[in-house]
Subunit: 296 residues, 2 copies
């Protein structure tokens, strides 16, 4: 469990390297988002400000910008515009996710749904997505429009697939990978592919960047799912054990199910059948998990 | 209150005239939607089938088709594709609305949220909207893409504005018109304008059809809001008095506030301040409303 902090440090340094490489571009993306979300409706402004100012690493925007730079895109602001779109798709998803997961904390601060209620969060999510499409349409590239609109459909499908398998202790690893490919990796790979589309990259280069984004997205989600079991809330910025308490089966539980003994397997089957799981269930699951990791 | 049935008959006949004028086009729109919503995720298929098969007049699709015909669009299937988009924007909105309003009935049958829960309904709404953007992108007309994506942002803004003013007995008529312009009339006018954009209509013709759609949308929403007070559930297909019980101020209440006496006004102020309103509150409000209409 002590691996979280060193991991965080090295991840942070790679992240800062990428960010520094891009000069002031990320803050220009943030400025553009703020400007495009302007609305005469006061509540929309308040909520989107709160949501966007609650930070986040803007990793997907950075990937779009970094990939554009790597592909040799230099002139113009299309990288800024499209990085903003990718980030807005992510933000819209987060607003809806927080309603769906009944989350009260994200990145250590209160979620919009916990302040303004679920109704407003659903609508402001819709607003963000619609504005994002407007920016894409202004950019006017039909290949990118096609890519990002199909990505948005994939994210929704991944989330529904996840709901459909809720409470399944014996979730197949393949199904898990399918879920996270759709709900997370699709947007990472769209981000890197979008960057490649901005310059005259050939199909092979586009494919390579798309594949890089996809694999990074898978790794990111697997790490995030592991942190739900391992991290300290202060570092993670989210509540710990949420997936477990909600009955969402992710890789750590799949590993117990694959590698555990009969007793561990039936314990898991039993507690995931329950309407609610308690702290003791979580502690026992953690013990099983640590034992398995140690013996691996 | 006896005006509902005759109104329904004459509205039905105008509706059928429009539908008959368009031959099999509406069923082609429905076929296209069904085909485009296909997903490997079983739950999405089930839910979108249920939602779409629960019917509806497809009024917005008909307006798109009718406006295209009126403008002289003949060759090709773009009218079918874009009528499907307009209808999908509406469907996505309805799925989210039903979650927001906690509705259990729409068009006389159970809503998706009441069967599969709010979480899935939010996500399937996102899926419908994303698929709709994919169809628009395939159509490839940037003017229409711009129109429909900004319409989608307007709908969300209208809904948030409505939430923001919930429980306000003294809502200004202007604010009410602004709310329904955004949440309802914007899509009606986008539907008729889209039809006009498909042929070589000049700006004046486009503007005229846009304006027709907008005014029809306003009239439609005002009638719908009135039916919430007047209709019989069997004919209306929705629960009666929902706006009232939710503290949503619409034109009937605005009229009481404008034309009522001091006693009626303070009654309204008082009951809208309450956390919940009961059947007696609704009956008394109806009596005040009928008195005002009779004396008008």
């Amino acid at each position: 469990m002590g691996s979280v902090i060193p991991l965080k440090k090295s991840a942070n340094s790679a992240y800062l390297d990428l960010k520094n490489l891009l000069g002031n571009k990320l803050s220009r993306v943030e400025g553009l988002i703020e400007q495009k979300l302007k609305s005469d409706v006061g509540l929309i402004k308040q909520m989107s400000d709160h949501h966007l100012k609650s930070g986040g690493k803007r990793l997907r925007a950075l990937l779009t910008l970094g990939s554009a730079k790597l592909s040799g895109y230099v002139l113009g602001d299309r990288d800024i515009n499209l990085a903003a779109c990718v980030e807005l798709i992510h933000s819209a998803t987060l607003l809806h996710d927080d309603v769906i997961d009944e989350s009260s904390l994200r990145r250590g601060i209160k979620t919009t749904n916990s302040i303004w209620g679920n109704q407003s969060s659903i609508l402001v999510g819709d607003y963000l997505l619609s504005r994002c499409f407007e920016i894409m349409v202004d950019d006017g590239d039909l290949e990118i429009l096609k890519l990002l609109s199909s990505t948005s459909a994939k994210i929704a499908q991944g989330e529904v697939l996840q709901l459909q398998h809720k409470g399944e202790a014996d979730l197949l690893e393949d199904t898990y990978i399918n879920i996270i490919s759709l709900k997370t990796a699709a947007l990472f790979s769209a981000a890197t592919k979008t960057g490649a589309c901005l310059s005259k990259s050939n199909e092979k280069e586009k494919k390579a960047l798309e594949s890089y984004g996809k694999n990074l997205g898978l790794a990111f989600q697997i790490a995030d799912d592991a942190l739900d079991y391992y991290a300290k809330e202060k570092l993670f910025g989210k509540e710990i054990g949420k997936d477990f308490f909600e009955g969402k089966t992710t890789l750590p539980l799949i590993i117990i199910f694959q590698k555990g003994n009969d007793e561990e397997r039936s314990f898991l089957l039993e507690i995931l059948k329950k309407e609610k799981r308690n702290d003791d269930d979580f502690s026992e699951t953690l013990v099983n998990l640590v034992d398995l990791v140690k013996s691996a």
